[in-house]
Amino acid sequence: MSAIPDLELAGVSKHYDAFSAVNDLSFSIAPGSFFSILGPSGCGKTTLLRMIAGFIEPDQGDIRIRGQAMQGVAPNRRPATMVFQHLALFPMMSVGENIAYGLKRRGEPAAEIRRKVSAMLEQVGLPGAEYKPVSALSGGQKQRVAIARSLVLEPTLLLLDEPLGALDLKLREHMKIELKQLQHAIGTTFIYITHDQSEALVLSDTVAVMNQGRFEQFGTPQSLYYQPASAFVAGFVGANNRYTARVNALRGDAAECVTDGGLPLIGRIVGTPPRPGDAVELFVRPEAISLAHEPADLAHCDLTIEAEVDSLLFDGANSSVLLVDKASRTPLRAALPQNGRFAHLCPGESVRLGLQVNQVWGYPAR
């Protein structure tokens, strides 16, 4: 692996009047990686991507692509091509002409263009589609043509702005896997924007969680999931149980807390060490909650709760159960184990919950 990162940002900012859409971002992306920017609507993702593509000039900071400073370099001269949110395929051209567009602009010989276009179509699974009009393609096929059109130029960076946003769920799942395989096969660095956490987690080598123009966390999907750095990340990644609580006592590096609803919990507080009495936000992953009928089954847990089944949310592999704590009536959501042992819980039935301290995350309340 070369030492020069494919993309490097240093102190990049963009303001619209007093509003800062992108706020002092610095990061670098290693060659060949799949990098996702995950964030809610309006957090500045598109603005950031368009600055990398060159459509917007940053107010401050430097953007470097493979070591080359990009300041003042027009979009048509940057080694970064973009797949647009609504694809922006040229409707007046056939599939082949769409893909050939960039090669023609470079003045490559016609025979070479034809060869590259057909090889590229092969690669995205549409061999022989050169002469089809764009309007004759399905949503997924258009997607592939849009990606092929950008990749055929062999860019250093491929920028993708929510490319799967317009597809239905099933196709999205399918394209997700295809995209991952494609990136693996070609090895181009992908910069991928999404507000869908599962896309970001499944596809990426590195994910940045973005909020209000800043990165809340930058790391592997695993670190995002298992060690969320802020309450925002913990709330955004995964479908967490979220409670506001107060610290009661400290036990080693764990804090014993009571939620505002009266449920006692124990967890790790991230950031400044808490003191008893501090207000905190606690997050408990549904998949981190162990279910049992016998107390002996929860011996490894740091905390057990007596609960009652409220309702069952059956969703195949993603099934979960809504529970209430018997003492405080606080609702909790727990994932059902895959082995089907608890598939037949009935509303009103009693069940024991177990939690481990390193699976409950707390953050000082703001």
Partner: protein, 296 residues
């Protein structure tokens, strides 16, 4: 068969349709079809040598080809109209682009109104405005002399260029509106995508913008060409005696010579010319009339 068609139920079902179509039909038949048929009939009446009797025949059409003044004026009108249309297109395109793609909100509305504003005054008055500006003791020659560009006032009226100026000016709006409409529907991200893939201004205009705007260009060009070809005021007032515009010949036949038969024949020749040129233009650019009119 006829009885079958006119069974009461069938008639009853079709009656509302006919009633709905009636105004349009009356307009089409009464104001367009009938007068044209009448003119066609008239144009085929040729005055005898003595001047008295009329006979049926193509004599009026033959006169047109026999007399060089007539067909030369005709050809000149066609060529000048094509030039004026091309100039209008070139002038209107940046305006339409600005209106559709760059101007936002209130500025955009204001600009549209500004485009429309001259049309609140009659064409006659607008053309006289140009005369005031351009005639030898008018504003522009005066300014040219004042700032030392010319030694004495120059006559800017009565040139072909002046006629073209007047024609472009009075047709601009009819080009800007259909162009702005089609450009408005051009997705900005197409332009951005082309730019991102290495396109530059010229190639994006040629490969993306013009193909998209083609129906608007066709519609604007047809309308402007027809208006120019049939324009009377601008060529006559701005070109004076040198204008040699074909509508002037038609006017002369009807009004000065009182030869309605000849005038009607000229009128039909103009109609045929404009139809042929529009058809040829559409064929050459691969557009269809219906599409051009629908998309803009």
């Amino acid at each position: 068969m006829i009885r079958l068609l006119l069974t009461p139920t069938r008639l009853g079902r079709l009656l509302p349709l006919w009633l709905l179509l009636a105004p349009a039909l009356i307009w089409l038949v009464g104001l367009i079809l009938l007068p044209h048929l009448d003119l066609l009939w008239l144009s085929l009446q040729t005055r005898g040598d003595g001047g008295g009797d009329y006979t049926f025949g193509a004599g009026n059409y033959l006169t047109f080809f026999d007399e060089p003044l007539y067909w030369r004026t005709f050809a000149r009108t066609a060529v000048m109209s094509l030039i004026a249309t091309a100039l209008t297109l070139v002038t209107a395109f940046p305006i339409a682009w600005y209106l559709a793609k760059i101007a936002q909100g209130r500025l955009r509305q204001l600009l549209f109104v500004l485009c429309l504003l001259p049309f609140w005054v009659s064409e006659m008055v607008r053309t006289f405005g140009w005369i005031l500006l351009l005639q030898s003791n008018g504003v522009i020659p005066h300014l040219l002399q004042r700032f030392g560009f010319t030694d004495q006032p120059v006559e800017l009226l009565y040139h072909d260029a002046t006629i073209l100026l007047g024609l472009v000016y009075s047709s601009l709006l009819f080009m800007v509106i259909p162009l702005a409409n089609t450009l408005d529907t051009l997705d900005d991200s197409l332009v951005e995508a082309a730019y991102n893939l290495g396109g530059n201004g010229v190639s994006i205009l040629r490969d993306i913008v013009l193909p998209h705007a083609a129906p608007g260009i066709a519609a604007g060009t047809i309308v402007v060409f027809m208006l120019t070809l049939g324009n009377y005021l601008s060529p006559v007032l701005l070109g004076g005696k040198n204008s040699l515009w074909f509508t002037e010949q038609i006017y002369n036949q009807f009004i000065t010579r009182f030869n309605w038969q000849q005038g009607a024949a000229f009128g039909f020749l103009l109609l045929i010319l404009s139809t042929l040129l529009v058809w040829a233009g559409l064929k050459l650019t691969g557009q269809s009339f219906g599409e051009a009119m629908r998309k803009s």
